[in-house]
Amino acid sequence: MDALQLRKQLSDYMAELFDEGFLDEQFTQLQQLQDENSPNFVAEVVTLFFLDSERLLNELAKSIVQPEIDFKKVDAHVHQLKGSSSSIGAHRVQRSSISFRNCCNDRNVEGCLKSLQQVRHDYSLIKDKLKTLFSLEQQLPGPPPE
């Protein structure tokens, strides 16, 4: 594929991620922050998001199987996840985090279990898609024309 086709493939993929609600305008904010002073900004922030999210999901998995669920602790973790996902524009993860928090507030164990599954699912989707996005970008032969 030539450069033009690669660029089109990338922008089509990006548009799809926005159209399907995987990403929102906050992701665009991040892209606008990337420049010659911070050339890898988006990848760096997304990497932090991956590390943070995986840590939080592990903690959540442990907390949720306790005989007496510490809802405050669970809520604190979900709050973090909601925050990071919102800050990078990972829209579906943000939304499922909000539902999860509602279940915590209601002390709804069943709801929390389902929410954790949902948030894990949404996280794994966005992780895959962002990795695909980055690998498409890496195939491009240099900075786009101004």
Binding site: Q29, L30, N37, S38, L48, Q80, S84, S86, S87
Partner: protein, 154 residues
């Protein structure tokens, strides 16, 4: 302003002396948010120091156990921007400590939060916060903040 505080989108190097840039202390327990606020502030011609909690913030500001630590009086901070929801010391509690210190009370404090709770906002403003902003922050929010609070400061 555009030519002195060279924006990062222009080609070539920033020739302005960074020591003249305002120094902002950003406090947030979330690593992703720290990275983002740091970049947004740098893009608005600020020097930035980030810390992950209120205790570290107070240490950096030169306050240890409520007493000024004279060794750090030289490191001047022009603005503190802090997240509201943090484990341990909240942003509100940090604000109170700063405003309660004769040594630090003139330092402007901005609170950020992902939650739009009017009573929370009023509480912070009454305690002396200069502004309350909602997350997720946009570059334009940070630029506005810089204009309002840090213009013409050395």
């Amino acid at each position: 302003m555009a030519s002195y505080y060279a924006s990062s989108s222009s080609s070539g190097e920033v020739t302005a002396d960074h020591r003249d840039f305002p120094h902002v202390l950003a406090v947030d327990d979330n690593h992703v948010d720290r990275k983002i606020i740091e970049t947004m502030l740098r893009n608005s011609s600020c020097r930035v120091t980030t810390v992950e909690n209120g205790t570290r913030a107070l240490e950096y500001l030169g306050l240890r156990d409520g007493q000024p630590n004279s060794a750090t009086l030289a490191s001047k901070v022009n603005l503190v921007i802090t997240d509201y929801c943090m484990p341990g010391m909240t942003g509100y509690e940090l604000l109170k400590k700063i405003k309660g210190s004769s040594f630090l009370k003139e330092v402007p404090v901005v609170i950020v939060s992902s939650e739009n709770v009017p009573t929370r906002i009023n509480k912070c403003l009454e305690e002396g916060a200069k502004m309350f902003m909602l997350k997720p922050l946009k570059q334009s929010d940070v630029k506005k903040l810089r204009c309002h609070l840090l213009n013409c400061r050395s």
